[in-house]
């Protein structure tokens, strides 16, 4: 049986607006295309089902990002249980296909960041959202975002130094 999305929701328009950004965010969290697509797909299905009234485009966008991040975290936990914390080689391949070899160091360092720090680093440094915007999206305080960014930066620095040393 087909779905009956609320008439005011233009799924195609929402997809055009958000799909690339959500896919990027999901990809950075999951590390592989298939899981990233699953996450984004689930989020859009939720969007179709939910009777949420969005006050503004920003509100809608924030909802999409938060839902994607949460879905990725769910999937990450599921994978951690399934794989005992290690993603298989096959699952990692497509993740790096979007980047040149020079960027692998940053990717690896990002992957090793704790889940919460990684999310704020992606939203702030890669997607370009301000601390306040990131805080609103994740429904946490600005100080928590700043703290996670600080820890994330420190850890990235140390991880990247480690990589240089190993190379």
């Amino acid at each position: 049986m087909g779905r009956n999305p609320a008439p005011e929701k233009d799924i195609s328009a929402a997809y055009k607006k958000y799909s690339d950004m959500l896919f990027r965010i999901a990809l950075m969290h999951t590390g592989n295309e298939n899981d990233a697509m699953d996450c984004v797909q689930d989020v859009f299905l939720k969007y179709m089902d939910k009777n949420i009234l969005y006050f503004s485009q920003e509100h809608e966008k924030a909802w999409f990002i938060r839902a994607t991040v949460n879905r990725c975290h769910d999937l990450f936990r599921k994978n951690s249980i399934r794989n005992h914390g290690e993603l298989s080689e096959a699952e990692n391949v497509s993740y790096k296909e979007h980047f040149s070899e020079e960027s692998y160091g940053v990717l690896d360092a990002l992957e090793r960041l704790p889940e919460k720090s990684r999310t704020v680093v992606i939203l702030h440094y890669l997607e370009g959202y301000s601390v306040e915007e990131t805080a609103k999206m994740l429904r946490i305080g600005a100080s928590a975002v700043k703290m996670r960014l600080k820890r994330g930066r420190e850890e990235l620095k140390s991880l990247l130094k480690e990589e240089e040393f190993n190379d």
Binding site: M1, G2, R3, I11, Y15, S19, D20, L22, F23, R24, L27, M28, E33, M37, D38, V40, Q41, D42, F44, L45, H98, F99, S100, E102, S103, V106, V121, Y125, L126, R153, L156
Partner: protein, 184 residues
């Protein structure tokens, strides 16, 4: 933090074309089913557990006062004696019997004694025989019966308006010791 090249590469990532089809076509129901039913089952199980817990708590809660003698709970099934409880003792000199109680009441409860007096921790008299006193919450006291008669049963009555409880102190001739018991 991240270099320009990395960010450029990141920003050039596009959602695969097949994703749109996956979302819009009929296959979406199957994917969704892996997430939603599990959550619904968990939510239903949690609600069921809460209802059952509340029902069990309501059914098993009787609001009965908790009565301790010398740190041991006094129930209808246990008799406390001089030998197994330090709180219950016979002061040999003058044949005085005393019993240390700790009560915990859920609602206002009246206490009355057939004989003797109730003393507080500091030794002041709380209640005397044939007098009804009401208490709430907790009460630490000592029931003292002077010149106790071995052939007599002494009673302390508790009533919380819903139920009556009777604590008895009597001398067991077979064991040769005083015994405290609770009946409802």
């Amino acid at each position: 933090m991240t270099d320009k090249k990395f960010r450029e590469e990141y920003n050039s990532i596009k959602a695969p074309e097949e994703l749109y089809g996956r979302i819009m076509n009929s296959g979406k129901d199957e994917v969704k089913s892996s997430v939603q039913p599990f959550r619904k089952i968990i939510a239903a199980a949690a609600s069921f557990a809460i209802v059952i817990t509340a029902a069990v708590a309501m059914l098993t809660y009787d609001g009965a006062p908790e009565i301790y003698v010398g740190g041991t709970r006094l129930t209808g099934e246990v008799e406390l004696t001089e030998k197994n409880n330090d709180g219950l003792m016979l002061a040999r000199a003058g044949s005085e019997v005393s019993c240390e109680f700790s009560f915990s009441f859920d609602r206002e409860t009246t206490v009355s004694l057939s004989d003797g007096i109730l003393l507080s921790e500091d030794g002041t008299v709380i209640s005397v025989s044939d007098e009804e006193k009401s208490f709430r919450d907790a009460l630490l006291c000592k029931w003292v019966i002077g010149n106790a008669d071995n052939g007599k049963t002494y009673e302390m009555k508790l009533s919380d308006g819903r139920r009556d409880y009777l604590i008895t102190l009597s001398f067991d001739n077979a064991d040769g010791q005083w015994t405290a018991a609770l009946t409802e």
